[in-house]
Each structure stands twice: as C-alpha cells, then as structure tokens.
Amino acid sequence: MMTPVPMGYGLIVAAVLFSLGLIGVIVRRNIVFILISIEILLNAAGLAFVVAGSRWGQPDGQVMFIFILTMAAVEVSVGLALVLQFYHFFKTLDADAARKLKG
C-alpha cells in the first residue's frame, strides 16, 4: 500500500503534460488558448523540478517551483494585458490577425 513511487513515473507525467502543452501552443490559434497552454508548459516544468527535488529530499526543487510560480504570474498579467489590447484593436482573438508589424 505504501510503496513509494519511482522517480521515472513522476518524470513521465511531467513530460506528457509538457508535450500536451506544446501541442496546445502549436495547434490553437486563439490567443487565450495559447496563454493557457504556456501555463501548462510552466506547470509541467515545475512538476519536473519538484520530482527531482523530492528524489534527494532537498528543498531546492520546491524553491525553483516558487520562482516558476512568480514568473508565471508576471507572464500571465502582461500577456492578458496584451490580449485585451489586441482584442480592442483587432476585434478578434485570432493570432493570425496580427501578421503585420510596423518596422
């Protein structure tokens, strides 16, 4: 009942979640979905850090997860401000609408 989990299984879960997030970034064209998929990517990377920290029983992995959490919060706030500006300007959330940039 209380058999501990091997380290490889935790890394498998993190890798599968990361590839699902990567698929989401590539496939979806809605900007909100791209942001959600980036959150999935960051969460999977944090899961890998916590698994690796738990392997040696050291707090370093959890410290790295806290840094990733901070970065995700900053990224989401700036990204959602960009999404609001984007929707206000183009009246759509399609990422293909912003093909032209002023040089």
Binding site: M1, M2, P4, V5, P6, M7, G8, Y9, G10, L11, I12, V13, A15, L17, S19, L20, G21, G24, V27, R28, V32, F33, I36, S37, E39, I40, N43, L47, V50, S54, R55, G57, P59, D60, G61, Q62, V63, F65, I66, F67, L69, T70, M71, A72, A73, V74, V76, V78, L80, A81, V83, Q85, Y87, H88, F89, T92, D94, K100, L101, K102
Partner: protein, 172 residues
Amino acid sequence: MDTVFYISSAVAIISTIMVITRLHAVHALLYFIVSLLSAALIFYTLGAPFVASLEVIIYAGAIMVLFIFTIMMLNLGPQLKEQEKQWINVKMWTGPIILSLILIGEMVYMLSVNSGYPVGTVTVGPKQVGISLFTFYLLGVELASLLLLSGIIGAYHIGRRRTTDGHKDLES
C-alpha cells in the same frame, strides 16, 4: 500513496487533454483548474505539501481568476468557434499524432525500465523551504521581486485603453 499518485496523474493528463481540445475558453479553464488540483495532489504525494498549497492558492486561485476576469471583459461571441473548428480537424492531425505517440511510448518505456530511486519517502516541509529560500536563494528572491515590479509596470502600461489608435507596435 502510490495509488493516489497514479490516479491523480491520470486525472491530470486527461483533464489537460480536455483543456487543449475545448472550443470555449471557459470550459477549458474549468478543466485546467481540475488539472492544477490534481497536480497539487501529485505534489502532496511526492512529499512537498508547501508547494501543493501554493499550487492551489496561487495557480488555481489567483491566476485562473485573472483568466476568467479577462474572458468576462472580452465578452466573446460565437464567431471564433467556427474558425477553431477548421483547425482542430481530425484528419489533418492523425499522422503527426500517431508518430508522436510512438516517440512518447519510447520515452515512457525508457523512463519506466530504469525508473530509479523512489521519491516521496521524505517530506520536505515549509520550514526547510523557507530557510533555503531566504539564505541560499536570496539573490533569486530579489530578482523575482524585480520581475514582479516590472510585470506590474508592464501590465499597467500595455493595458491602458487608447480610444483613438491601437498599440504603437501594431499596424492595422
């Protein structure tokens, strides 16, 4: 403990698949909250209770509420669904999905054959994490505070509503 880990990992993977295939953003966010809660349960079984509570409070609490508020402010119509339906076409993605499943099967095989040392035998509590965070990683904490400050300023600057023209970097 291992049964809890396997069940919550399956819930996390299934709900993440549901996130990237939903057409409506609010449905995807609900599934993403389920995925984050199961990730918190995984952290708890791995002996990291502090990070598990942070995952629930900050990720599933604060960041997801930010997403939901933004979607409420945008007030989206049904026109985006039709466009996304063209992209999520089963026939177009069958080949890449099968080939990627082969690769991921290989990786799962390699990681499970040599699955290594057991994890989650030692619980690393908030006290050890705090001691490590504020002594050895103090420079990282300062850098994170600078990042948060620049994030606040950037979000305020970008999110300002201009009535006449759009952002200066975008061309209509």
